[in-house]
Symmetry: C2
Subunit: 136 residues, 2 copies
DNA sequence: TGTTCCTGTGAAGAACTGTTCATATGACCG
DNA sequence: CGGTCATATGAACAGTTCTTCACAGGAACA
């Protein structure tokens, strides 16, 4: 398969490391998304990587809730809830509707909603396999 | 952590924080996954939240690659690549096949594969629709 | 056998994250 | 008005994370 050149370096990076499967490296490299998209995507995953924020977003799956209710549902302090919502807001993952002194947050990102649905489906699936959980 | 008296949050109407929409709080709370599942899920998202690991996993989407090739594709040093793979291995996200002194890694988690596919589809989609994006 | 090559690992340090405390803002109530 | 309530924000701090450096182990190869 690699009879011609075994340590050929692709013109993509000009790096000094050796390459074993140059063809696959070329294909995979060409399919790699742009740095900006990668960072954005990693950022989104990072927002979902905290149990508190995850609870927050799962709570918003079927509609808006105010900050204090979110605080109760997630078990976070109201300050921590507000900080988390601020972060999610900055990334356009949630949106806010203000009514008087209340602030009602809702999920505002279809992509994140899909990720959450997928994650939820997965936990329910594994729950069906490991039936050691109690009812609520 | 000493939430001695407020451990039970299930008593929705008796908690210290005020509740605005008690019904929705009850529904949402009952649908909230168990803490273990939440932490596991957040953990998975955390593994995807680093651009380097994301590149690594995307590179493995269509088949196995050895460490040095992964290092080239991702732009990480070989040591960093090995550390990242070790972490992913510990979480059963990737699996390894050894041949001589080479180590070939492959994606070994169907759930993570779905998440990656979804993320990839989204970057391609948003690239087609929103050519530019802002942040505040 | 000794050497080179690929990978794995521990330690260390810089950078980042998430929480809490204290306080601020602006809306409502009396 | 003054006071309270819901939320927002800044600073600080403990804990975590990611990278690099140095080196170790085992397989190939002379």
């Amino acid at each position: 398969m690699n009879s011609s050149s075994q340590e050929q370096v692709t013109a993509l990076e000009g790096c000094a490391t050796r390459v074993v499967d140059a063809d696959r490296v070329a294909v995979v490299s060409s399919r790699m998304p742009a740095e900006t998209d990668l960072v954005d995507t990693a950022d989104i995953f990072g927002l979902l990587s905290d149990p508190g924020r995850l609870r927050l977003l799962l709570a918003l799956l079927d509609g808006e809730l105010c900050v204090c209710d979110l605080s109760v549902v997630t078990g976070l302090s109201e300050s921590a809830t507000s900080h988390a919502l601020r972060l999610l807001r900055a990334h356009r993952v949630v949106a806010v509707r203000r009514a008087g002194r209340m602030a009602y947050y809702r999920l505002d990102d279809a992509h994140v909603r899909m990720l959450l649905d997928l994650a939820l489906a997965h936990t329910e699936h594994t729950q069906a396999i490991h039936p050691e959980r109690k009812e609520s």
